[in-house]
């Protein structure tokens, strides 16, 4: 079963083809994306997250093609891009509530959920601190935590465990596996035994093609 479907998707930047004719069904469960640097993994994730439009082909969400289904998809999307310019002058909690409001979530419930998520990834003690004081790893976990707010049916994670130690990576991976039981989770990551064991699908992006592995 799949909610998100890509049909003959292609992406070209300034005459350079990143990938072409990609047709995939994103399954419920965990999908791992691998491939060499610069192959287009982040570009593919941005397209899946509706942050970027494909040059060719079409995306469908629950059998309705985009852009008609874009708001419907965004209603239930959790996205953690690789590089985010976080607002340093806000606390982590203020930022998360900003994102919760933009996702249309109930703020009281989102605050409680944010507490639970950050507690699970060892960030809770710092959520009332300004983001300016956060390390790279803490920022990464904050971006991850906001992606899980609500009950997203599609979760897109770009290298969520980069910059994290093995123990903290393990905490994030446990949450990812838990969410993947009910949602479609697509993520790029380095090889991880824990994730590989739970993956419903694994794709390799290389040479302009996306192939199952």
């Amino acid at each position: 079963m799949s909610n998100l479907h890509l049909d003959a998707i292609g992406k070209t930047y300034g005459g350079k083809t990143i990938f072409n004719g990609v047709t995939i069904h994103v399954p419920i469960g965990l999908t791992l994306l691998t491939g060499p640097s610069g192959a287009g993994k982040s570009t593919l994730l941005r397209i899946l997250a509706t942050a970027e439009k494909p040059s060719r082909g079409k995306l469908s969400w629950k059998n309705t093609p985009l852009p008609a289904a874009r708001r419907q998809l965004r209603r239930t999307l959790g996205y953690a891009p690789q590089a985010v310019d976080l607002p340093d002058d806000l606390t982590a909690r203020e930022f998360a509530m900003h994102m919760a409001a933009l996702k249309g979530l109930d703020l009281t419930a989102a605050d409680a959920q944010f507490g639970a998520i950050t507690s699970a990834i060892n960030l809770h003690g710092d959520i009332n601190q300004r983001i300016a004081t956060f390390s790279g790893g803490m920022r990464r976990r904050l971006v991850f935590a906001q992606a899980l707010l609500g009950e997203p049916e599609l979760i897109i994670l770009d290298e969520p465990t980069a910059e994290l130690d093995d123990q903290t990576s393990g905490l994030l991976e446990a949450l990812i596996v838990e969410r993947a039981a009910k949602a479609s989770v697509v993520m790029t990551t380095h090889a991880s035994d824990q994730l590989t064991a739970h993956a419903a699908a694994s794709w390799r992006v290389e040479g302009g093609q996306v192939t199952p592995t």
């Binding site: 941005r46 997250a49 509706t50 942050a51 708001r71 965004r74 209603r75 999307l77 996205y79 891009p81 590089a83 985010v84 310019d85 976080l86 607002p87 002058d89 806000l90 606390t91 909690r93 203020e94 509530m97 900003h98 994102m99 919760a100 409001a101 933009l102 996702k103 249309g104 979530l105 109930d106 703020l107 419930a109 989102a110 605050d111 409680a112 959920q113 507490g115 639970a116 950050t118 507690s119 699970a120 809770h124 003690g125 959520i127 009332n128 601190q129 300004r130 300016a132 004081t133 956060f134 390390s135 971006v143 707010l149 609500g150 009950e151």
Partner: protein
């Protein structure tokens, strides 16, 4: 690597970045087009340089001087805004602060690039001045006498501005919003102080007080020799008065002071390199005593591991409004200051005390939030959320108006009048729209804060 090579490299890289940004080409296009609006017409429209309420007879030298004065006074904040918000606002400080290159050389290189870009705009303005002069000057058309006063007045001010940018960027405080406030105060001072000393005889020392270089040419060149002049707008009396601009710029010590300001700018850049503080994540503030307790955010509420997933809000729009309201007033300090601003509204003359106080606070809160909402690096994430951009921007404007109304409530209740509410609501809405538009264009809150501070001053003093 020698210091000269480092400086040259820093300058070249900055110039390369400028040349690849649309902002530079827009500046070079706008400068000459704007020239026509920098010279007042007989009906008083355009930016006026007036002597005793009369426009001056527009000779070639006076045309150049008027253009120069408008640049070095009224347009200086625009130039500062451009420098601070252009492509070179971000530099790889993580690596260049630990490199072996001389800090002074790096900063001098960047200063030179900034100065060259501003002088390029001045060159475009000079060309426009020639075209304008060919059509409108009284008496002979003398291109040299258009260019000379224009450059004498404006070029040192622009070079000084490039140095000031380096100085403000050198310290952590100057890099933040407080840097814009510092510039605003310095800019105001640069216009007020030389007027105060303008009646003293012209000398190098007295002219050195006049960073913008506008007072001496107007005083020494005017028929009465006093400081009865105005720059900007206002009622114009019929008829033109002669202004001897050539005598004005030849006043004792004036030309040497303008060259000295260029030397001061270079010295300021070197000073900036000496007081430079590396970037670092701010330490968690330890403010002693009562203030610490007042501003402390405290620990977060205990986490409940079994907290259910947040559901969709009953009214996403109301939730968004509430969130925007909270974020504009983020931090306890803002709320304490909002209470003070609201209480100031109880004093008489709400228009000149309570209203500007509330508006000033709002300028900082809403420009910060508009900036973070439109930050390019965050926009990609925000764009994928359920809320369309127009709704988000509308909510920010509505939340700003709400803050303005809340702060005007004591004044409205004390006077049992709707006037404070109407005034606060309209100024708050106007500020929010300007902040939103400028943040959308620039991708940061800086331009919004700068422009709103200037407009706030106009509002306060009108």
């Amino acid at each position: 690597m020698s210091a000269i090579a480092v400086a040259r490299s820093a300058m070249t890289v900055s110039l390369l970045r400028y040349s690849r940004s649309w902002g530079l080409w827009l500046l070079l296009l706008v400068a000459p087009i704007g020239a026509r609006f920098m010279i007042a017409r007989d009906d008083g429209s355009g930016m006026q340089v007036a002597i005793g309420g009369h426009l001056p007879v527009m000779t070639s030298a006076t045309l150049g001087m008027c253009l120069g004065i408008v640049v070095s006074t009224l347009l200086l904040p625009v130039a500062f805004l451009y420098l601070r918000s252009n492509v070179t606002r971000r530099n790889p400080w993580q690596v260049d602060e630990v490199s072996g290159g001389s800090r002074a050389a790096i900063m001098l290189g960047r200063f030179a690039a900034d100065a060259l870009v501003l002088l390029a705009a001045l060159t475009a303005l000079t060309a426009a001045g020639w075209l304008l002069g060919w059509q409108i000057v009284t008496g002979p058309f003398q291109p040299g006498w258009i260019a000379l006063p224009l450059w004498l007045v404006a070029a040192p001010a622009l070079v000084g501005l490039a140095a000031l940018r380096q100085l403000l960027d050198a310290r952590p405080l100057g890099r933040r919003g407080i840097g814009e406030l510092m510039f605003f105060i310095l800019w105001m001072a640069s216009m007020v102080i030389p007027i105060i000393v303008s009646e003293r005889p012209s000398s190098f020392a007295i002219n050195m007080v006049d960073y913008s270089g506008f007072v001496r040419p107007l005083v020494a060149g005017s028929p009465s020799g006093d400081n009865d002049f105005s720059i900007g707008g206002g009622q114009i009396k019929p008829g033109r008065v002669p202004l001897d601009s050539e005598r004005g710029i030849s006043a004792p010590g004036y030309i040497s002071s303008r060259f000295a300001w260029v030397a001061v700018a270079i010295a300021l850049t070197v000073l900036a390199s000496m007081v430079y503080a590396p970037h670092s994540a701010p330490r968690r503030r330890r403010i002693a005593g009562l203030l610490a307790r007042m501003l402390a955010r405290g620990p977060p509420p205990p986490a409940i591991a079994s907290a259910p997933a947040a559901t969709i809000a009953r009214s996403p729009l109301a939730t968004l409004l509430l969130a925007e309201f909270r974020l504009i007033g983020a931090g306890k300090l803002f709320r304490y200051l909002a209470i003070i601003a609201a209480l100031l509204g109880l004093l008489p003359d709400f228009r000149h005390i309570g209203s500007p106080a509330g508006l000033l606070l709002l300028v900082f809160g809403l420009s910060a939030h508009a900036g973070r909402s439109e930050a390019r690096g965050l926009r990609q994430l925000i764009a994928t959320t359920y809320t369309p951009p127009a709704m988000r921007r509308g909510a920010l404007i509505a939340a700003s108006v709400a803050w303005a109304l809340v702060m005007s409530l004591p004044a409205a209740l004390a006077n049992w009048s709707l006037d404070p509410i109407v005034l606060a609501g309209s100024t708050g809405a106007a500020a929010a729209v300007i902040a939103m538009l400028l943040a959308m264009i620039s991708g940061s809150g800086f331009a919004a804060r700068m422009v709103l501070l200037i407009l706030w001053y106009v509002y306060l003093s009108s």
